[in-house]
């Protein structure tokens, strides 16, 4: 029982971590909270539903399609909602935030229109495969989610820490002017960052669809707010903090449902924000993007 709940918590937590990583990358480089990230995530989930349930396509195709669509959405977000505000003088520093809120509303309405309201199930057969290890039941979906999450986090850490493009991103996150003096094309780096963050959101969307077998146009808002809570918890712009914060939140939510009252599940994230802001405003890990 305890181990099963632990597995549930880790599964949920690793999805949260990936959502939070998307927030953290954009915050690190642009210094803004991307309020459209949750809706891009929701679109990723819907692409998963369309590919697997509507067209009966394979799962890998769902991932591919979701990555492509959400990456394109990230590009458009940067190109049309963020960049025009950056090049102008005298624009309020809140403008990009408000712009992303506008995009989030647009995307939510668009998904109502395209996919219809209510609950959309994922292809069910896959979700029901499970194993028995001793007295513990483990679902295949959970293992897949966990493996994908770990691979994604590992790949991101490797990319940020060891590759030239990743180092350029970290330099840009630390100081735009310095990065550009060192030869980094910061405009391209910013665009690439928003694209990568969005595609990670899309992947997380499919994972949530698989885990809960339910996708709705409203899911973006709640996951978006949780992502926000996690990066406050882990330290704004901090990659390790986002991973750890995601896991902590996933585990905490799971155990509250088991040992407490499921009505409080969604409150955890926000109680955590309040406590963290009071005790350690820089977050558990502080610090900007590092490897």
């Amino acid at each position: 029982m305890l181990i099963e709940q632990l597995i549930n918590g880790i599964t949920l937590g690793s999805i949260y971590a990936i959502v939070a990583l998307g927030f953290t990358l954009v915050f690190g480089v642009l210094g803004i909270i991307n309020m459209a990230h949750g809706e891009i995530f929701m679109f990723g989930a819907f692409i998963g539903v369309v590919v697997t349930a509507t067209f009966k396509g394979p799962l890998w195709l769902a991932f591919l399609a979701a990555i492509l669509v959400t990456a394109a959405m990230g590009y458009m977000l940067e190109r049309f909602a963020l960049r025009p505000l950056r090049s102008k003088q005298g624009v309020s520093h809140l403008a990009p935030l408000i712009s992303t809120i506008g995009v989030s509303i647009l995307l939510e309405n668009l998904s109502h229109h395209l996919f219809g309201p209510g609950n959309h199930p994922f292809r069910a057969s896959f979700a029901e495969i499970s194993f028995q290890i001793g007295s513990i039941t483990v679902y295949l979906v959970q293992i897949v989610i966990f493996i994908i999450s770990v691979l994604l986090m590992y790949a991101l850490s490797f990319w940020l820490g060891k590759t030239k493009a990743g180092k350029a991103l970290r330099a840009t996150a630390e100081n735009l002017e310095t990065a550009s003096l060192l030869g980094v094309d910061v405009k391209r780096t910013i665009t690439m960052t928003v694209i990568i963050a969005s595609a990670m959101g899309g992947i997380a969307g499919i994972l949530v669809g698989m885990a809960f077998n339910s996708v709705t146009p409203q899911m973006g808002l709640s996951i978006g707010l949780k992502g926000l809570a996690i990066i406050i918890l882990g330290g704004m712009g901090n990659v390790k903090g986002a991973m750890a914060g995601g896991l902590i939140l996933g585990l905490a939510e799971t155990f509250v449902v088991v040992y407490g009252n499921s009505g409080y599940k969604d409150a955890i994230a926000f109680v955590a924000i309040i406590v963290i802001l009071l005790i350690r405003p820089q977050g558990l890990f502080g610090q900007k993007i590092s490897a």
Binding site: K167, A168, A171, E174, E177, T178, S180, L181, L182, S290
Partner: protein, 236 residues
């Protein structure tokens, strides 16, 4: 090598540079002197592409380069060590050096980093440490080393001696001289006028956004007017 003419630059509506003109000959060291707020940093920002001038032209090796971004200018051979060094404090010393060679595509980068570390042993010793944990003088060494790794033709240095102990300052000027002797042209901004002019070929004096005097380093060092205004003491 560098020819700046008729440059005017603004911050918002405030005009900070008024019709600046200066030249840097290939192989030389040129110094810009001036009091606080004269516009020295603004001049360096304009030449390196961080700031777009309203008027005038910037020619580098016979080519108009006004309006290019800093990363494009770096590829043409202009590198700036900015005021306050601007070390990437969350990246290690080694990563800072690697970022210096970011735009290079040749395969001698590792060799050059080793060579630089040989020249600055403290950087080798501290290579795994975060840039932000170095002392001011060490950070300046790192900033200069990082700029050298980009293999610039023209190196711009904005007050490299700022806030450093006299012994370290002397070291920095020695290094600048070495870099120049190895073939890099240098444009230097300094408050430490006497020491700067001693290693320079030519100098300009900037006052509230205008060039008010220029001459060979020797002339400036022996001009009593300039000595008093910018060097504090009478020339010895």
């Amino acid at each position: 090598m560098l020819k700046v003419s008729g440059i005017s630059a603004f911050y918002g509506r405030i005009q900070v540079l008024k019709n600046i003109g200066l030249e840097v000959a290939e192989g030389s060291i040129v110094t810009i002197l001036g009091a606080n707020g004269a516009g020295k940093t603004t001049t360096m920002k304009t030449i390196s592409g961080l700031l777009k001038p309203q008027q005038g032209s910037i020619e580098f090796q016979g080519e108009e380069v006004k309006g290019l971004r800093p990363d494009q200018l770096l590829r043409k051979g202009i590198a700036l060590v900015p005021e306050g060094r601007q070390i990437l404090s969350g990246m290690t010393v080694l990563e800072n050096l690697e970022m210096g060679a970011y735009h290079r595509k040749d395969n001698e980068i590792d060799r050059d980093i080793k060579a630089i570390m040989g020249r600055f042993p403290i950087l080798e010793e501290r290579q795994k440490q975060l840039g932000g944990t170095l002392s001011g003088g060490q950070q300046q060494m790192l900033a200069i080393a990082r700029a050298i790794l980009s293999k610039p033709k023209l190196l711009l240095l904005d007050e490299p001696s700022m806030g450093l102990a006299p012994l370290v300052v002397a070291d920095i000027f020695k290094i600048i001289k070495e870099i120049n002797e190895a073939g890099t042209t240098v444009l230097l901004v300094e408050q430490n006028a006497r020491q700067a002019l001693r290693i320079s070929d030519y100098g300009y004096v900037l006052e509230t956004g205008k060039i008010v005097a220029e001459g060979s380093a020797h002339e400036l060092l022996n001009d009593p007017r300039i000595m008093e205004a910018y060097l504090g003491r009478k020339s010895s």
